[in-house]
């Protein structure tokens, strides 16, 4: 089976990659583009460690073929802030102990980023429901939820002022 040329935009940069259609997007990102921020946890579509943003959707990159991503616009954890700086969510996870080993964190933050785009003023329940596709095996969800709520507040001075 032949390789195909896949052209896609990742973190604002256009890439041309030669890959077999069956290659998974997560492997293309990690191995061909050397973007190792998104992790492989379960590889069975359950844990969300591989979450990236594709055309405005949070997706599990272990369950997308490279070929399907032809022409897509992708953002990974590496694209959320300039090197050497932290985005609000990253800062908030650090501040509120939203991570322990850090394995799930890139997926958590990439997913939370999209969640806050779609719902800038979530309730705690919205956050728990919206983060249900991401598993953490060590921090416990309490501080992850707290970190995301704090980031929402930070990004939303209007809401803070109203309170």
């Amino acid at each position: 089976m032949t390789k195909m040329n896949i052209s896609l935009t990742v973190n604002g940069q256009v890439h041309e990659v030669e890959a077999e259609p069956r290659q998974l997007l997560i492997h293309l990102l990690r191995e061909d583009l050397n973007l190792t921020g998104a992790h492989i946890g379960c590889e069975t579509s359950h844990c969300g460690a591989c979450t990236v943003e594709m055309d405005g959707k949070s997706v599990k990159a272990c369950t997308v073929f490279a070929a399907q991503a032809q022409g897509a616009d992708i953002t990974t954890i590496e694209g959320l802030a300039e090197p050497g700086t932290l985005n609000v969510l990253q800062e908030s996870f650090r501040e509120h102990h939203g991570l322990q080993c850090g394995y799930c964190t890139p997926g958590m933050i990439t997913r939370a980023h999209r969640l806050l785009q779609e719902n800038p003023t979530p309730t705690e329940e919205d956050v728990r429901f919206g983060m249900a596709g991401n598993l953490c095996r060590c921090t416990g969800y309490q501080n992850i939820v707290k970190s995301i709520m704090a980031a929402a507040n930070e990004l939303n001075p209007a809401k803070e002022a109203a309170e």
Binding site: P21, G48, T63, V64, A132, G133
Partner: protein, 284 residues
Amino acid sequence: MIPAAFDYHRPQGIEDAIAILQKHGDDARVIAGGHSLIPMMKLRMAEVPNLVDLQDIESLKGITIQNGRVNIGAMVTQHELITNEGLAAAAPIMREAALQIADPQVRYMGTIGGNVANGDPGNDMPGLMQCLDATFTLFGPDGARGVKARDFYEGAYMTERDDEEIMTAIHFDASTAGYAYEKQKRKIGDYATAAAAVMLTKDGQTCSSAAIALTNLSDTPIWSQGAGAALIGTDCGPAAIKAAVAAGLDDIDPSEDNRGPIAFKYHAARMMISRAIASAWARA
């Protein structure tokens, strides 16, 4: 977990897609959101030498509601079903059920067409479609035909759809009926141990129409005519609910699996049917 190699096709129109299916026969299959198919391919439980990606076919997208009829393109995702306000007004049971499917990431990719065409008894949309009395449009080499959801499912992964047909759209009537989709699952993101879709209409204090369908309690979804009939003409009180549950349980044939033994499946079915009836009645 790498699937067997395949050739990838991304047709721009439905006729082109059908032509690829015709050319490769058994060796070709369409992919929509891929969230049932890719896991199976990774496990090598499905081998697809020619994968036909439907994502560029514009005619399979979008939701329209016209003259009381809801039309949903096969490629509409579960996320779109949840966020579409027109659909939430015309058929609120769609949002209620879609919110109970999988998790956010899966819902951004998984499509209604893939969910109903798949034929997996664990999928939630097929029972829901039977409850709504939906019609599926199948497009093949000889053109389009409609098949009722209530006639579509033949067995696990076996449906009325021919190999060379693609499901293009799903249609049903908008409804103001009381509704509920109740689902028992082990955790978020899990398939149903048992689930029930119920729609009821009321004339004064009397139930004037009832549709009840059940998920993952047989190798197909079950539209239980008996359960519906047991409610019509009643006040949907405890005795009527009991009769409807008994009729529903008569129609199912659950099997033992990692979600529990058969007796537990009956118990979960009993709970889901009675809860869904009570909740739909309260909203009727």
